[in-house]
Amino acid sequence: MPEPKKKFDLPMPKFPEPDTEPFWDAAKNHELRYQVCDECGGIVFHPRRHCTHCPSLNLTWKTSKGEGVIYSYSVVRQNYHPAFRERIPYVIAWIDLDEGFRMLSNVVGVDDPASDVSIGQRVRVEWQDFEAASLPMFTPA
């Protein structure tokens, strides 16, 4: 679902940045990617070249179903950055994806962020497409 047109663009991922470039390449196809270690099975996120659980450099990209729960959140009511100022109030949240990794994102698609968002709430990914990147945001499932 395209975001309603705003005057200022959100900050976008910047490249070259080899750790995260494959994540954002897949995001263009609305695939939410994470890495799993071939040696120990540990999950690596944010993306890196090395396993953070064992001394391994062999990681495989997987695609998440994009479903999870809100671990915690805040409703941002003040931000001097012009792009975020025109989006206030908005929700930032730690999302615990069902595959076992935690990521920062926004919770969108709610009428009143103060009353319609809660910890433990089930959410699913909702892609927002911009010229520079597709951003994985989350909406109540």
């Binding site: 959100l10 900050p11 976008m12 991922p13 910047k14 490249f15 070259p16 940045e17 750790d19 995260t20 994540f23 954002w24 999950i43 996120f45 944010h46 993306p47 890196r48 671990y71 915690s72 959140y73 805040s74 409703v75 941002v76 009511r77 003040q78 931000n79 001097y80 950055h81 792009a83 975020f84 989006r87 908005y90 930032i92 949240a93 730690w94 615990d96 076992g100 990794f101 935690r102 990521m103 920062l104 994102s105 926004n106 103060a114 910890i119 433990g120 990147a133 951003l135």
Partner: protein, 400 residues
């Protein structure tokens, strides 16, 4: 107590008194503070053989080198650990280590900032929007997470897990403001910086009805943005015994980092790792502490750190801070942030040095909210972002 080592002590301190500093650079504030701290310690530039610097005011990116030339010192130990507001507790920890190892005898820590004059929006600006690409910048810059909203993530989770309330968190702001009103420099800051709701003590009601900045954190739960600076001189036992003031010994130190982990608990901070190391080295427990100088970027920072340092159990911070036990004149609990803290005295961006300075004042008997016969203090610095990644160091201080 028998195993306690007394090999390094704070012998000189200075807190730059102004909160709005016209026409001075951070380097000048650092140097003036160093001069005043040297006068306080009865020492000279030539006595300094170790320098610790977080890179504030570094020229040409050369922290450690440029500061040595600016001061005209020739240190044998140069440490440029830079971990935000906790840098100065790391520096104190390293100074104790280096002095105990015989590598240094007189260590200088300085800080200077004109954050307010330069109108930095520390808590509510956009994050990671400038500079070269980084992995974390690419994963986090698009969501609009301000500094305060990051801390708010911890507050919400703490409320969810333990039933902590905004009214309980507000108690931290209330006691800190009361201490600030007793500190002439903090009181002047409240006036000059026109802090809400005016030059007076505040109530829980004032705090919870102040503007919501990032749910569930209100304006009066947030540190102020000021200019400022200071200096601390740490010396070996031999040097310290010849200085004019009572030595304030560094009895124990601990350091840690904390960052986001899958399934991790963000209501527990790095203090849970640094605290036991510091208390263990000092051979004391939280229940013996008279003065708690706890980094108060926001109310939730103090609440979680008090729990993590062992002043109360995890989850019981809300009831621990209720009832006024943290005032300087209430026995039974430690006195909290007796200078007025970052919430109501000064916060130029990296507040850690002021925790060491006020702890030293208390143990010398010089605080504006003096705890009678204060013997033991803890200074705990937290730098970075409580809800995602931060560094922290704990220093236990004591006098003879």
């Amino acid at each position: 107590m028998a195993t306690q080592t007394r090999d390094a002590a704070i012998v000189g301190i200075h807190e730059y008194p102004q909160r709005s500093i016209d026409g001075m650079t951070p380097l000048q504030i650092k140097a003036e503070s160093a001069v005043r701290a040297l006068q306080d310690a009865g020492l000279n530039w030539s006595d300094i053989d170790a320098v610790y610097d977080a890179g504030d005011g570094a020229q040409g990116g050369m922290a450690g080198l440029s500061i040595s030339e600016y001061f005209n010192i020739k240190p044998n130990v140069i440490d440029t650990t830079s971990v935000g507001g906790s840098s100065y507790e790391f520096h104190a920890s390293h100074a104790k280590r280096d002095i105990a190892a015989g590598k240094a005898h007189v260590a200088l820590l300085t800080y200077g900032s004109t954050a307010r004059s330069q109108s930095f929006n520390i808590g509510t600006g956009g994050r990671m929007t400038a500079g070269p690409p980084t992995p974390l910048g690419n994963m986090e810059s698009s969501w609009g997470m301000t500094l305060i909203s990051n801390y708010a993530l911890v507050a919400h989770r703490h409320m969810h897990e333990y039933g902590t309330t905004s009214e309980q968190l507000a108690e931290i702001s209330v006691v800190t403001r009361a201490h600030a009103m007793r500190n002439p420099e903090a009181k002047r800051a409240i006036e000059e910086l026109e802090l809400l709701p005016g030059v007076r003590e505040i109530t829980v009601e004032d705090v919870v009805t102040s503007r919501m900045i990032a749910d569930p954190l209100h304006l009066l739960e947030s540190c102020i943005i000021s200019d400022g600076g200071g200096a601390v001189i740490i010396a070996s036992a031999d040097v310290a015994r010849g200085c004019p003031h009572t030595p304030v010994w560094l009895l124990g130190t601990g350091e840690a980092t904390k960052y986001s982990e899958h399934g991790g608990d963000i209501t527990t901070s790095a203090a849970a790792q640094s605290g036991p190391t510091a208390f263990g080295e000092a051979g004391v427990t939280a229940s013996e502490i008279d003065i708690a100088m706890i980094y108060d970027s926001f109310t939730i920072t103090v609440l979680t750190i008090l729990e993590d340092l062992g002043f109360c159990k995890k989850g019981e911070g809300g009831s621990y801070v209720e009832g006024g036990g943290l005032y300087f004149d209430k026995p039974g609990q430690p006195a909290l942030n007796t200078d007025g803290g970052g919430l109501s005295s000064n916060h130029p961006g990296m507040r850690g040095i002021f925790l060491l300075i006020e702890a030293t004042r208390q143990l010398r008997g010089d605080s504006s909210s003096q705890v009678p016969d204060a013997k033991l203090a803890v200074a705990h610095g937290n730098g970075g972002m409580l809800g995602s990644r931060h560094a922290a160091a704990t220093i236990i201080l004591g006098r003879d």
